[in-house]
Symmetry: C2
Subunit: 209 residues, 2 copies
């Protein structure tokens, strides 16, 4: 597949800011059940293979899962402190749980679990997050590193609009990428057309900062 055009500047930002571990932290805004916005820091866990979908991990007991409901619109805001640039990624969320049937997604869920540290995996054995504190239940054994616990889930963000702002320079540079309706794209194998598939295309606009 062809990567979306915003993937290249985002990969460059990740590379240039790689010495700071928190460059993989970003803020994900969603809607609460009562319609108010919610906003929390999440860790970028890479892209779903052969796609432009960002992977985050979560606990199915967390509010962000409970409040997803039927309107899984979201916007991630990702600020890179070293290169001083911001990506805003607006789109829709998909939850991948133990019950998800689609094999590609279930494989990704297993891979993400295996990629976590022991300490990160252990947190899924802890008492209910956000509930009044109890002292016991945190001294649990490390869970099996190969088989995800039932409460372990992925959140996939599928962007349909990306707003990239570089603060360096005056005036600053800013681009907006808009996903268009799927269009038919030639599938080429060794430069020979082998058929067509439906794929999203993107429109890029240079805008005022």
């Amino acid at each position: 597949m062809t990567l979306a055009p915003w993937r290249s500047p985002l990969a460059r930002a990740l590379h240039r800011n790689r010495s700071r571990p928190y460059s993989r932290y970003l803020q994900l805004a969603t809607l609460r059940a009562d319609g108010r916005p919610a906003n929390r820091t999440v860790v970028f866990r890479g892209f779903l293979p052969e796609s432009d979908r960002l992977i985050f991990v979560t606990d199915t007991r967390s509010n962000k899962v409970v409040s997803l409901g039927d309107a899984p619109a979201a916007e991630a805001c990702w600020y890179f402190t070293q290169t001083r640039e911001q990506f805003r990624l607006g789109g829709t969320l998909t939850l991948v749980t133990a019950a998800t049937v689609e094999e590609t997604l279930q494989v990704a869920r297993h891979h993400a679990w295996q990629a976590l540290s022991d300490n990160a995996r252990q947190q899924f054995t802890w008492p209910h997050p956000g509930q009044p504190h109890i002292a016991d239940g945190f001294d649990t054994p490390h869970p099996d590193p190969t088989a995800p616990l039932d409460g372990f889930a992925l959140l996939l963000l599928n962007p349909d609009q990306v707003d990239h702002l570089e603060l360096r320079g005056s005036p600053q540079n800013r681009w907006i990428y808009l996903r268009q309706e799927n269009s038919l794209v030639d599938v080429m194998v060794r430069d020979q057309p082998k058929g067509v598939i439906a794929a999203p295309s993107w429109r890029a606009i240079v805008v005022n900062p």
Copy 2:
């Protein structure tokens, strides 16, 4: 007035992370006109005097102002990279423009304008943000540093729920502060009661991370 109980840990975080200028950057989530969440980086400009309201500055032409409408619910997410702690501040927004009558707010607007750098003030003279890029109109003279331009506005965030998470330690520490209905509070002058005023009170809960 009495400061809200989350002001003390937030002040401590600002102090301990003060060597990193981007510690004053946070992400503000609001709702778009179509109901989807929006999320962008803003700069913390201090608190409105004698209040727990956070000050941000904005351009009245920006989308976050246009989309405020009648439902100014918001949640700010503030991650401090050095001490590894997060504050989520949920509440409501107030816009303070050239047309705002309340004197305290208009004074704060003037002070915020005067505290900006020349370069930051100049941006309010630039072409419409977010519109297709035009090459001209960025080479403008610096505006009067004492009198704010008409397009300069404040956004005030009045929190009603604050969620503080310290990532250091295992298990991590987490507190939730909830604003309660106003209650009557004794006004004391030199330890002598001088009457009562209605003031918000807060409930603090220690919760599981």
